[in-house]
């Protein structure tokens, strides 16, 4: 009654404890990693590494805790649309701020 792939009553795949424990472990390792990295002097790489680790952790939560890996294409497309729009907001707004420093032509 505890295999990770058994079908639940509603027909979805049931994700089991083994997967969740593995993800928990990865997230905790990631947390330790990112705190450790913030104490190192890595110049411009500090924020990049911090965001990369955060994004990896977020992806693990999305794919496994939120079951997106086992979900329909529509769900995956929806997640992608949200992330895409979020990135458009940030990047296009930031592009104004960054290019102000370039002066007039």
């Amino acid at each position: 009654m505890s295999e990770p792939n058994e079908q639940a009553h509603n027909g979805h795949q049931v994700v089991g404890p083994a997967v969740y424990v593995a993800i928990l472990f990865s997230l905790l390792v990631g947390t330790g990693l990112t705190v450790w990295a913030s104490f190192l002097e890595l110049g411009p790489w500090n924020p990049i590494i911090a965001l990369a680790i955060a994004t990896t952790k977020a992806m693990l939560v999305v794919l496994f805790f939120m079951h997106v890996k086992y979900s329909t294409k529509l769900t995956k497309l929806t997640v992608f649309a949200g992330i895409f729009m979020f990135l458009v907001l940030i990047s296009m707004t930031l592009s104004d701020y960054i290019s102000r420093a370039w002066g007039s032509w």
Binding site: L74, A81, G82, M85, V88, L89, M92, T93, S95, D96, Y97, S99, R100, W102, S104, W105
Partner: protein, 559 residues
């Protein structure tokens, strides 16, 4: 000289409104205020929307009265600022954004896809209550001194320099925004998950496609203006410094967040109207919409591209030259899908059997006026010309052409087209055609002079102006009076028709949609037998074969 019409009404001597319909199924005020029925919620919206429209219209009347003379003689400048601000807030948040989606969209989408209701009826009702809460707050704002920042709440004016009701207006807009989000969310889920068997995406009426595209915008864009309003509120109350240059903040950040929503908002407003136009033009040309796929995809394209152009409202505000360049180029792009629709509607008309019932008159008005409004948008998207035209009456004319000449005409077109379905009764054709013509004349007289005023240099949001602009302003005000008559007439004759209008029957327009294959007004569960979709959209040949069968089963007799 026979009147050319496609209207086909049942025999009036024996026809009756069907006894069991969504209006008669349950009685009592609570059955309406606690309903989950999408059709009842649509009617609740229709009544409240009309109320707010006339408040916004009265404010417009005050604006035009003041502008009859070059001096500020009717009201003080501060009062004038409050009047145009509330006119904008009410018309945009409490009329245009919910207009077609919350009334016609709510009523028709489940029927058009062959479902019994929207996916989330309780959320639908919550949407309406949020709308009412926001609206009451807006009225409270007006009653307690108003707000004078313009509907755009530009910082740092709204955060540091005015003493008016920015907070309550912001809260009203915030709440109305969630009403909009929940409506859009509901539509997206419904359209994806509740289509009848056989109703594939490319058999959907284009009305559904446009609402789908508008709903994507509602869900993704509205939260950004919500956070912008929260930030303004915190800036005003706590002085957190996020938009305050003296504390290192940037006032333009507010504008970025505000327009990130408010540009897609104009597509939220117009897309549902475009959906109406697709239905009406097809029906009154007796032809399928030319280039169905192109029109469907252009709706989605407008929604997607609409997210990338917001800073064209900020060309003169201090964004970088490079941002101006990029956003101007992208704005050119977003005009293309709209133009595709106009071309396709025109090709639909070509060699169609055109008749000129009231919905079609409004649709023709839309075609011409939206085209003019849209093309003037291209002048404004071109940053070089925008520098001269922005903040003048050219902008005012541009957005009124697309919103009033376009969207409001589309709303009236749809309201007349589906009135028989919603109420079971036909409106009186002659007076309604006259009202449509009066509206068209009044509209042009009101807003065309404003293009000229703008190019001559009259600034917007000013209560006084140089005397040489007076003649055009007088024309504009005269037009506004005529326009007011044109909008008042439908209220009167539509209410009249509820009691005295001809019985419409299932399908007075001989239209092809699923909603027309059932009784008028519909049953609470929409269909006595759930439909299976086995033909393409706008399939008039299929309809001919159905005419025999549906006449036999049409519910027109008593009981």
């Amino acid at each position: 000289m026979s009147t050319n019409t496609i209207v086909s009404l049942p025999d009036q001597s024996t026809a009756r409104i069907p006894k069991d319909n969504f209006i008669t199924r349950e009685n009592g005020l609570l059955s309406w205020l606690l309903t989950g029925d999408h059709k009842r919620i649509a009617i609740l919206y229709l009544i409240s929307l009309s109320f707010f429209f006339f408040i916004g219209g009265a404010l417009a009347g005050l604006i035009r009265l003041e502008l009859l003379t070059p001096q500020t003689d009717l009201m003080a400048t501060d009062t004038y600022n409050k009047v145009f601000t509330m006119h904008g807030v009410i018309m945009i948040f409490f009329f245009l954004v919910p207009s077609v989606p919350a009334t016609l969209g709510n009523f028709l989408i489940p029927m058009m896809i062959g479902a019994k209701d929207l996916a989330l009826p309780k959320i639908n009702l919550l949407s309406w209550y949020l709308y009412i809460a926001g609206g009451i707050l807006a009225i409270y704002t007006m009653a307690t001194g108003g707000v004078d920042t313009g509907w755009t709440f530009t910082t740092p004016l709204s955060t540091h320099y005015v003493n008016t009701n920015v907070l309550t207006t912001g809260l009203a807009a915030f709440i109305a925004g969630f009403s909009s989000i929940f409506t859009g969310l509901n539509f997206i889920v419904t359209i994806h998950k509740m289509r009848a068997p056989g109703m594939t995406w490319f058999r959907l009426p284009l009305f559904v496609w446009s609402h789908y595209a508008a709903s994507i915008l509602m869900v993704l864009a509205t939260p950004v203006v919500a956070i912008a309003i929260v930030l303004v509120a915190l800036e005003r109350t706590l002085g957190i410094g996020i938009f305050d240059p003296t504390k290192g903040g940037d006032p333009l950040l507010f504008q970025h967040l505000f327009w990130f929503y408010s540009h897609p908002a104009v597509y939220i407003m117009i897309l549902p109207g475009m959906g109406v136009i697709s239905e009406v033009i097809s029906n009154f040309s007796r032809k399928r919409v030319f280039g169905y796929t192109a029109v469907a995809f252009s709706s989605v394209a407008i929604a997607v591209f609409g997210f990338f152009v917001w800073a064209h409202h900020m060309f003169i505000m201090g964004i970088s030259n490079y941002a101006v360049l990029v956003f101007s180029l992208l704005t050119m792009l977003v005009a293309v899908p709209s133009a595709i629709k106009i071309f396709n509607w025109t090709f639909t008309l070509y060699k169609g059997s055109i008749t000129f019932e009231t919905p079609m008159l409004y649709a023709f008005g839309f075609l011409g006026l939206f085209t003019i409004g849209g093309m003037t948008g291209v002048f404004l998207g071109t940053s070089g010309t925008d520098i001269h035209l922005t903040e003048t009456y050219f902008i005012v004319a541009h957005f009124h052409f697309v919103m009033v000449g376009g969207m409001l005409m589309a709303f009236l077109s749809g309201l007349h087209f589906w009135w028989p379905k919603i109420t079971g009764r036909m409106y009186p054709e002659k007076i309604s055609q006259m009202a449509a013509v009066v509206t068209f004349i009044g509209f042009n007289l009101t807003f065309f002079p404003q293009f000229i005023l703008g190019t001559l240099g009259m600034p917007r949001r000013y209560a006084s102006y140089p005397p040489e602009f007076q003649v055009l302003n007088v024309f504009s005000t005269a037009g506004a009076t005529i326009l007011g008559v044109g909008y008042l007439l439908p209220v009167l004759y539509l209410l009249w028709s509820l009691k005295y209008g001809a019985i419409a029957g299932n399908n007075p327009w001989q239209a092809t949609g699923l909603e027309w294959q059932t009784q008028s007004p519909p049953l609470t569960e929409n269909f006595a037998v759930m439909p299976i979709m086995d033909h393409e959209a706008y399939d008039y040949e299929w309809l001919e074969h159905q005419t025999e069968a549906s006449k036999a089963t049409e519910v027109t007799s008593a009981g």
